[in-house]
Symmetry: C2
DNA sequence: ACCCGCGCTGAACAAGTGTTCAATACTCTG
DNA sequence: CAGAGTATTGAACACTTGTTCAGCGCGGGT
């Protein structure tokens, strides 16, 4: 068998599904549509993946495998996610919102890795201490994931081509600036928040 | 006519649709489902809204109107969004991802208001200067919108009840800390980024 | 009293959905 | 070359989808 070579119809179907799922959502995508995109009959996709749900699982596995393949523990796990190809990004955003089990797992993993990464940075002195390390890791991850999920809007406002590297760089730099220098010059908002939060 | 009173079947349908659209996505929601939730016949929803698309538009309008009703220009426009009821939040997240025209408009408005707000803050000295004010506003908005879109995952990792105020507060405080004190203690990442970005 | 208009419904329609199945084309093993 | 096994298909099935339409009950205006 040649299942390893990966230019088979099975792979074509999976890739087509990934794009359509990411663009139109899972519920909004018909098996016939991905079959047409892959240039095969609808019957073949269910022959290979058992069902539409099986196809979605295969997409999940493919994306997760691709992300997990690079990146050892301790590194910034988000770089790989953000550098993933655009169809994958779109699919991931959908999966995250739809609450796919695989997406949840991925999110948890990224948070764990990031928290670890921030902890070592804290020890080595290049990350500031946090009052709530867990909450900070979660928030940080959701921040870096935000342009991924809201990519269309960010791209639209920052430049012509959405999901273009140049515009993504603009946003990334702005974010890094906020994360290094801070956004607010004094802690008026922080203290105000803490005062309100006491209940 | 009593269309103003707003406990009519029309309003019930709209509210049911808002919840289902937010939970299952627009494509994943059938007219029959929202009709059943509202306790009416499927024919009535199309009688009131013309079509499923019309129903979605009505949801858009309702959400936007609710958000826009409070909040003058110059204030932090995001507070209202984040304090919106959970069904509305879920719906907004979906609409943002689906690229609804209304959602795009809302996003643009929020960015504009925020940029203005940050500019006055910069003049008054409580916001640090930015190298790219537009990019900063866009990134800032997408950051504050992130917990909204990824609410389920954030909630799951930060506490028992997702979308519970207590857990949301935890995340918000962590975010505020990063925005005031910064996350990174030196600019190693920023300079590294700038070096790479020169091409 | 009439009946017009409005909210509302049940039944139906055509189109599209995921999935099944028998049958064909293909490819490698013996 | 024969044959087993896989890839692939067209047609069909049962079902759900959004939408249409004739008709019901009922309140208020003339």
């Amino acid at each position: 068998m040649r299942s390893a070579s990966d230019l088979t119809a099975r792979a074509r179907i999976r890739d087509a599904a990934l794009i359509r799922f990411g663009t139109d959502g899972i519920a909004g995508t018909s098996v016939r549509a991905v079959a047409a995109d892959a240039g095969v009959s609808p019957a073949l996709v269910v022959h290979h993946f058992g069902s539409k749900e099986g196809l979605r699982q295969a997409c999940d596995d493919h994306v997760l495998e691709g992300i997990r393949s690079g990146g050892e523990a301790g590194t910034d796990a988000l770089g790989e996610v953000l550098q993933a190809a655009t169809p994958v990004r779109r699919y991931l955003a959908r999966a995250l919102l739809d609450g796919t089990a695989a997406a949840s797992t991925l999110f948890d993993e990224i948070v764990d890795r990031t928290q670890q990464w921030l902890a070592t940075g804290e020890e080595e002195g290049w990350v500031r201490p946090a009052s709530d390390a867990r909450a900070r890791a979660v928030t940080y991850v959701s921040w870096l994931l935000a342009p991924l999920v809201l990519g269309d809007h960010v791209g639209r406002l920052l430049g012509g081509d959405p999901a273009e590297t140049a515009t993504a760089v603009r946003g990334a730099r702005a974010g890094l600036e906020m994360l290094t220098s801070g956004l607010f010059a004094d802690d008026r908002w922080l203290t105000a928040f803490n005062e309100v939060g006491e209940r």
